[in-house]
């Protein structure tokens, strides 16, 4: 026979009634009702926006003509934005300015203050070289197109010496990093090579493809170079790019190929480096003066 219920409940302690014991005391005297919080829930006042219902009476503010005014094409239909009733539109009169250069490179800017912030958060390791791959993986940059340029916004905030390799760097950024004891190297990247770097198909390196551009790789050497990476990083071929990465002021990775005192330009000679072809004949200038006719 199951035990009698009153006896069982006698074993149960009274449930903990933490909520307002004073209320329990005063219940016979006060109209205590258990109101649900669901009845008083509401979003913040700014979340509610008056919905405009046009043509629903005068008190709404948008009745009768519904904000369209009286008669005309604009009440019954629409007029194109740039149309001026037949008069030559302004963008035809004044014309368009400039053009869009399809060959321009889209460099993603990265500033020094953000790098320091990421180092403080532990998302970038200052002991390792910071390359495009590290910047993208730590979400310091959201997607890279043609390259990354290092800029110097918040240069006072940079405290740690860093070793960074990017496409380009501003002079101020280079100076700030080197003053702290860090190192900047700019390297040539193409869109495809960046994609391969991010996928892990290319190894990030500051060495050019061929250390001695004059020599040719022998067949044996080419066969012996085996690496887990499918692709190598390309070197620049265009004059503009070559000149950029040969320039030690840009900390280019090809600047070691320059001879002492040589400028980075492939066309212009550095002043004071070449000798004049014609040797000076002594007395030639005096002879020219004496032989003057008038």
């Amino acid at each position: 026979m199951p035990p009698r219920l009153p006896a069982l409940t006698a074993y149960c302690r009274a449930a903990p009634s933490y909520s307002a014991p004073l209320k329990a005391l005063l219940t016979p005297f006060l109209q205590a009702r258990n109101a649900s919080i669901l009845a008083t829930l509401s979003d913040t006042p700014g979340a509610y926006n008056k919905r405009i219902r046009r043509g629903r009476g005068p008190s709404s503010g948008k009745g009768k003509t519904s904000g369209r005014g009286h008669k005309g094409q604009k009440q019954h239909g629409s007029v194109p934005a740039r149309f001026q009733g037949g008069q030559t539109p302004q963008d035809i009169v004044h014309g368009k300015r400039g053009f869009e250069n399809l060959f321009s490179l889209e460099m993603s800017p990265i500033n020094l203050n953000k790098i320091q912030d990421w180092i403080d958060q532990g998302r970038l390791d200052p002991r390792k070289t910071i390359t495009v791959k590290e910047l993208v993986e730590s979400r310091c940059l959201h997607g890279v197109k043609d390259g990354v340029k290092l800029l110097a916004r918040g240069k006072e905030d940079l405290k740690t010496p860093i070793n960074i390799m990017v496409s380009r760097a501003s002079a101020e950024a280079i100076k700030t990093i080197e003053d702290l004891g860090g190192k900047v190297v700019t390297r040539y990247y193409t869109k495809t090579s960046i994609k391969r770097l991010l996928k892990g198909e290319s190894e990030s390196t500051e060495l050019p493809l061929v250390s001695n551009p004059g020599a040719m790789l022998s067949a044996a050497e080419a066969a012996s170079t085996s690496s887990p990476f499918m692709y190598r990083l390309p070197d620049p071929t265009a004059r503009k790019d070559l000149e950029y990465y040969r320039d030690p002021a840009h900390r280019g990775y090809l600047s070691h190929l320059l001879a002492e005192g040589q400028g980075p330009s492939l066309f212009f000679r550095t002043p004071g480096t070449t000798r004049r072809k014609k040797a000076k004949i002594p007395g030639a200038a005096q002879a020219q003066k004496d032989n003057r006719l008038w």
């Binding site: 069982l8 409940t9 449930a15 005063l26 970038l124």
Partner: protein, 292 residues
């Protein structure tokens, strides 16, 4: 005589309510605050603040101390014998009340619950021939086209309802914060009763369960209660089938934020509470990839 004295007491309580106070009356001075405190206001000693965070509310003049963790009592079911204490971080069970978050979560759940099956036929869907009913001119009556026109009886409905999806979106972190805010509100009010795992009764008798509810003051006169268990408990669920007046029982996977706010109190298994807190902590866990 006694009632007169209590009338004066209730009057003071009413004035207290008028000042918009929402805290426990036991922790407050019952005299209405008509002037500022005469005591010099100063900051709390640093020894007290260790392990707590001092939160400065913009609205109130005082600063509220928020403890870093809070204690809950684990009880035995159904005897309600306290077994032990368990501590939870105040980020789980002592969050401030955010009515706007709770509102958004309840509306989000309600939208998702909507069936969205109301359907009407347009004039193109109403069955019938599309013959012109009467000639355009000559009849002396209004011009009419097809029988399915919305102007006519038996015609289609112009802008009637069509089956659609009413669900809305709410950022996951906001939703998780709303879950924890609801539990925190219950905890602060004292309406969160945590029991041991395996919450069940010996016999599937509804009369027994009703007596338990009456004894513990969990039933209808006290605002009804919600029991939350981890799994299906045969006896408990069967006994509470006819106890809709006094409360209901749900499995933790079927509970919504609205259920947590609806009834008078929550009696929950510890593992169920841990599951809820574990599933709704996305705003506390950072997904940032660390390099160092």
């Amino acid at each position: 005589m006694a009632s007169k004295g209590l009338q004066g007491f209730s009057k003071s309580l009413n004035t207290l309510r008028a000042f918009g106070s929402s805290k426990d009356p036991l922790t407050q001075c019952l005299a209405p605050r008509l002037s500022r405190s005469m005591a010099t206001e100063t900051s709390l000693p640093s020894s007290l603040i260790q392990g707590h965070t001092v939160v400065q509310n913009v609205g109130t003049a005082e600063s509220e101390i928020v403890p870093s963790s809070v204690l809950t009592t684990i009880h035995k079911f159904p005897t309600m014998e306290p077994i032990r204490f368990d501590s939870y971080s105040s980020k789980y069970l002592y969050l401030p009340l955010r009515r706007d978050l709770l509102h958004r979560a309840v509306i989000f759940e309600g939208d998702a619950t909507r069936q969205g099956t109301a359907s009407t036929k347009t004039r193109f869907e109403v069955h019938g021939s599309h013959r012109k009913i009467r000639p355009q001119k000559g009849t002396g009556k209004a011009r009419l086209g097809t029988r399915q026109s919305p102007m006519l009886k038996g015609g289609g409905k112009s802008f009637g309802p069509h089956p659609r999806d009413f669900s809305t979106e709410l950022p996951r972190k906001m939703y998780d914060l709303a879950w924890r805010t609801a539990l925190s509100w219950r905890y602060r009010k004292g309406d969160l009763i945590v029991c041991e795992d395996g919450m069940d009764i010996e016999y599937p008798k509804s009369r027994y369960v009703k007596q338990i509810f009456e004894h513990n003051r969990w039933g209808k006169p006290d605002g009804r209660s919600l029991l939350i268990t981890q799994d299906f408990r045969t006896n408990l669920y069967q006994a509470l089938e006819d106890a809709g007046d006094d409360g209901r029982v749900q499995q933790v996977d079927d509970v919504d934020v609205k259920d947590l706010l609806e009834l008078g109190r929550i009696i929950i298994e510890k593992s169920a509470l841990d599951q809820i807190l574990r599933e709704h902590q996305s705003d506390l866990i950072t997904k940032v990839r660390a390099a160092v």
